[in-house]
Structure formats: C-alpha cells, structure tokens
C-alpha cells in the first residue's frame, strides 16, 4: 500500500470516481482496524469509517495537502472514533481504557522463564520458516492475529495498527498521537511481541 500521491488528491478534488473507489477500497481494512482500536463493536467501527469518508468529502475542497492524503484520512478516523468512544463510554464502562499504558521499556516482553539465570534461551524458539505456507495464510491464523490485537491495551493497539496495518511512517505516527519517537517504538515493540506470543501459542 503506497502513500497516496498528490496526483491522487487532485483527482479526488476533481471528483474522479475511479480514484475515489480505489482509495476507499485500499484504505478500508486499515481504517476499520484503526476504528476498532477505539470502539470494540465491528458495526460501530464500520460507522466510524463511513463517517470519516463523509467528513473527508465535505472537507476535501479545503484540504491543502500539507500532510499526505493518507495521514489526513487516518487522523480523521482517530478523531471520529475517539468521539464515538466518548459517547459510548457514557453508556457502558470501557474497562480496557482503565488498563495502564505499560509503555515501560524495562518491562520484559518474553516470559523470563524462557531464559537461564545467565540470560540464554533454555529451549530455542521454533523456526517459523518451516511452517507450511497454507497454514500461515489460513483464516484461522488471521483470526488469532485479530484477537491478539483486540486484546492489546488501546495505546499499543493504535500504534501497531497505524504502523503495521496502515503502514504509516514512524514519525507520522508519533506526531498523530502526540508521543515521542521513543515512546512510539516502545509501544510498537510491546504490541508486536504480544502478537508474536499469541501466534507462538498457536503455531508452536
């Protein structure tokens, strides 16, 4: 998924339907996953994606392209999703929000019992390059990844989705979330390590 070019923005401003369809298709998965970093319900997340596009369409003439189209759109997703979450949290306690951030660099992401007192592996991790491709691309594996991401603390979830699903640059993501580069990396590391662990439980 490449960065949307300036040409793409110009085409949208001209009202080019093929470009619009291409962009909404390409961004749908990452936008939906990002919305679900804030609102749990799949239908609500789909509403967030729709509302984002409706907001973007209305604002398109005024958008000058100082950031990339992609960064702009994902920024709107975050705003819309956060406001939806605030509305919902008045009705329903959102316990995941109460979890602490965990962006502590010293905290280990691999179970300490996997290492000897000296810090070497007790038993080596398995080589995943031996896993049959069919197993890696199976829907079941994808479901595990989804579930692992949904179980992350929200602050880790938003970072892994923006970086690894939407493939935004590290600097863009730190700016969007108003966090330091270091903090962004710590959250990303903890998120990736948690997903790896869940995959290991499944793949061996």
């Amino acid at each position: 998924m490449g960065e949307a070019s300036g040409a793409e923005l110009e085409a949208l401003k001209r009202g080019d339907e093929a470009t619009f369809v291409d962009v909404i298709q390409r961004y749908h998965g990452p936008m939906l996953r990002l919305a679900m970093a804030y609102v749990r319900d799949h239908h609500v997340a789909e509403d967030v994606v729709q509302e984002t596009w409706l907001t973007a369409i209305r604002a398109l003439d005024r958008f000058e392209g100082r950031s990339s189209l992609k960064t702009w759109i994902f920024g709107i997703v975050i705003n819309v999703a956060r406001s939806r979450r605030r509305k919902e949290s008045r009705l329903l306690p959102f316990t995941a929000l109460l979890r602490r951030d965990d962006a502590d660099r010293r905290q280990r992401t691999v179970d300490p019992s996997r290492f000897t007192a000296a810090g070497d592996w007790r038993a080596l991790p398995n080589q995943w390059d031996n896993i049959p491709e069919a197993r890696l691309i199976a829907g079941e594996t994808l479901q595990r990844v989804k579930a692992a991401i949904e179980d992350l603390p929200p602050k880790h979830r938003e970072v892994i989705v923006l970086r690894d699903v939407a493939e935004l640059e590290a600097g863009t993501v730190s700016d969007m979330l108003g966090i330091s580069a270091e903090n962004q990396r710590v959250r990303l590391h903890r998120a990736r390590a948690a997903v790896r662990k869940r995959l290991e439980e499944y793949l061996g």
Binding site: M1, G15, E17, F20, V21, I24, Q25, H28, G29, P30, L32, R33, E46, V49, Q50, W53, L54, I57, R58, L60, D61, R62, R105, R108, T109, V110, P112, F115, A118, G119, D120, W121, L124, P125, N126, Q127, W128, D129, L136, T141, L142, V145, K146, I149, I160, V161, D164, V165, A166, E167, A181, R185, L188, H189, R192, A193, V195, R196, L199, E200
Partner: protein, 82 residues
C-alpha cells in the same frame, strides 16, 4: 549481550533505531545464536501477519453509499468551483 536482552531490542533493530555500536553487537549476537535468529524471524512473520489485516474488503453496500455521497458532493455540494 544476552538473549534475554537481545529479544527486547528486536523492534529498535528493525526500526533502525540502534546506535552503530549496539547494531553491531546485535548483529554479531544474531549471527551466532540460532534462538535469537529464530525469534527475529518470528517477529518478521508476525509483522507480515498483522499486515494481512489491511486486506479486509469494503462491503459492497458501504462502497455504494460512499460513492453516492461522493457523487452528490461532486454535483451539488462543492464549496468552490473546480
């Protein structure tokens, strides 16, 4: 550098955020350690698995509704002439 520490540097390594010295030590360790090399590979596969979530297709109905909104903006709702 011990395996226990190396696993915590995986993301810094993949992000190119290690200092030249740490990067060298990291790579030296990885070259001689099957366990950490396997773990790094697992991290890379994890990233590609996470990226699969990007492929979720847009529902037909949603695409139609959005395209409708785009058309109506194009025909009536423009705030500036093109």
């Amino acid at each position: 550098m011990k395996c226990r520490e190396v696993v915590e540097l995986m993301t810094d390594y993949l992000e190119g955020a290690l200092s030249a010295i740490d990067r060298h030590r990291f790579e030296e360790h990885i070259a001689g350690c099957d366990g950490c090399r396997a773990y790094l590979e697992q991290m890379r596969i994890t990233l590609s698995q996470v990226h699969r979530l990007a492929d979720e297709p847009i529902p037909e109905r949603v695409q139609e509704q959005l395209l409708e909104a785009f058309r109506s903006w194009k025909s009536t709702g423009r705030s500036t002439p093109s």
